[in-house]
């Protein structure tokens, strides 16, 4: 399915060095260092809990609201910070791309890997909250892993496509913050789709993040399983997206050095 994969393995040391570099640059000269992985979802969770719970008195779920918000933010943050990193990453490395050959997808991959590690660090707080709120997990909580996999694959698909497109049209970079913001509102991070109409639900489910976030709440906090055929359908959809954006990327890659 991905012909360049074996070739990519040869360059795994370069991938590791890029990943390490991303981390050391980001946390250099900071006081809190790695805690910065937790602050953004934590602060928004507190904000949402206060605004929706105390000010607007909206009841978002039958379980504690901080859990509801934090899980959505955890996944959303992974997606948004991956895109923020990957969209300009090729254009930023033009002086490398015009000098030496290496599989260019390593650049976006290293950013997504960094966001994955951040997500893992931030999920420690989720575990602490599950203990604090005395949530009893069922076996269905294990669904969180295939759902996370789906999220990562989908993020790779979007990142490869947009980062390659940005080499040709810097409009992508300029539109990205606005686009990410729009996407945030289309994703049930601070709301639940339970309360919206059926037609609206269908529209929202065109966004794979809706499926991922809704279902992870369902299996983690409500103790219910994911519907297998729905998961498979979504998985196939994401694989097709990944395959198409990968071949778009490799096709465009040959022209990067000429147009960047």
């Amino acid at each position: 399915m991905f012909p360049g994969f074996k070739h990519l393995l040869e360059y795994r040391d370069l991938f590791l060095v890029f990943l390490w570099r991303n981390f050391s640059i980001r946390y250099r000269q900071t006081i809190f260092g790695i805690l910065w992985a937790i602050f953004p979802p934590l602060s928004l969770m507190i904000l949402f809990t206060v605004v929706f719970g105390k000010i607007m008195s909206v009841k978002v779920a039958d379980y504690p609201a901080p859990l509801f918000f934090y899980l959505g933010l955890l996944f959303w943050n992974f997606f948004a910070s991956s895109l923020n990193f990957t969209i300009p990453v090729l254009a930023n490395h033009y002086n490398l791309i015009t000098k030496i050959y290496f599989p260019k997808e390593i650049l976006p991959f290293s950013g997504i890997a960094m966001a994955t590690i951040d997500m893992m660090i931030a999920s420690v707080l989720l575990i602490a909250m599950l203990v604090y709120f005395k949530c009893s997990l069922t076996i269905y909580a294990l669904w969180i892993f295939p759902l996370t996999l789906l999220l990562i694959l989908f993020t790779i698909a979007i990142s490869l496509f947009l980062s390659a497109l940005n080499v040709f049209y810097r409009d992508v970079q300029l539109a990205s913050s606005f686009l990410i913001q729009l996407w945030f509102f289309m994703t049930p991070v601070f709301y639940s789709i339970d309360k919206v109409s059926v037609n609206m639900k269908l529209v929202l489910f065109l966004n794979p993040l809706t499926f991922i976030i809704e279902n992870s709440r369902r299996c983690l906090f409500e103790g219910r399983p994911v519907v297998v055929w729905q998961y498979l359908l979504m998985f196939i959809f994401v694989l097709i997206a990944l395959r198409s954006s990968y071949s778009f990327f490799t096709k465009m890659e040959k022209r990067f050095a000429d147009v960047i």
């Binding site: 050959y101 409009d171 050095a257």
Partner: protein
């Protein structure tokens, strides 16, 4: 292709556009859709041939220098050999791993220390992490920067950058080395050392390809000088 050749160009043509060098926006591209007037020589408006019908063979172990004015196509040839760009027409083969000398900004991150940058630059040149660790001392020693090696490279002078870049490049296990103009910089003593090292590469029968305006230097180093003018071999 004969196995003795490290690099082989067959009727290579390379077209570039003057306009789309750095930045292209969607609006410009859409407006271009409506005016696709091509001229007789296969060039659209604003395009030019950077290389025209280049036929070239570079043997393994040979040291070749490219000479020519700015815009003669020297850098384009290096880019084609490095595999970052591809010919518009014709074909080329390259045998063996290629190590270009990475300039300031390319393989270096300003916030990382010299030592950390050795890891980054080395990995970009295709070295394994263990290999870089083994060669670390030797790289630092050659660069003569041991006092400054744990300092962020943004505090380096351009001469120091060059020393480090050169030192990393020659420690790679590549079989084809590309030097783009950069040997001309640096102080006299270090330059001597670099030239010595390049002769050393020759003795190890590595292929060395370089580009310079300096004809003296070219004559003293190269087995063969290829003169380029306006994208053609003269």
């Amino acid at each position: 292709m004969s196995s003795e050749n490290a690099v082989e160009f067959q009727n290579v043509w390379k077209k570039y556009s003057r306009e789309a060098i750095f930045h292209k926006s969607l609006r410009e591209d859409l407006s271009r859709l409506f005016k696709t007037a091509s001229t007789r020589d296969g060039l659209s408006q604003g395009e030019f041939w950077a290389l025209q019908d280049i036929n070239l063979k570079i043997k393994k172990g040979e040291t070749v220098g490219f000479y020519g004015h700015n815009g003669a196509g020297k850098t384009t040839i290096l880019k084609l050999i490095a595999g970052v760009t591809f010919p518009t027409q014709g074909s080329l083969q390259v045998r063996g791993r290629v190590a270009p000398l990475l300039e300031i900004g390319a393989g270096f991150h300003p916030d990382l220390t010299g030592r950390e940058n050795i890891f980054m630059n080395g990995a970009i040149l295709g070295m394994k992490i263990t290999e870089i660790k083994q060669k670390m001392n030797s790289i630092i020693e050659f660069s003569e920067l041991s006092e400054f090696i744990d300092m962020p490279v943004k505090k380096f002078s351009s001469g120091m950058y060059l020393r480090l870049a050169f030192s990393i490049a020659i420690h790679s296990e590549a079989s084809i080395f590309l030097f783009d103009e950069i040997i001309a910089v640096g102080d006299g003593a270090f330059r001597e050392k670099c030239l010595e090292k390049i002769s050393d590469l020759k003795r190890k029968s590595k292929t060395v390809i370089f580009v310079t305006h300096n004809l003296e230097l070219l004559k003293s180093l190269a087995d063969r000088i290829i003169n380029l003018n306006k994208g053609e071999i003269v």
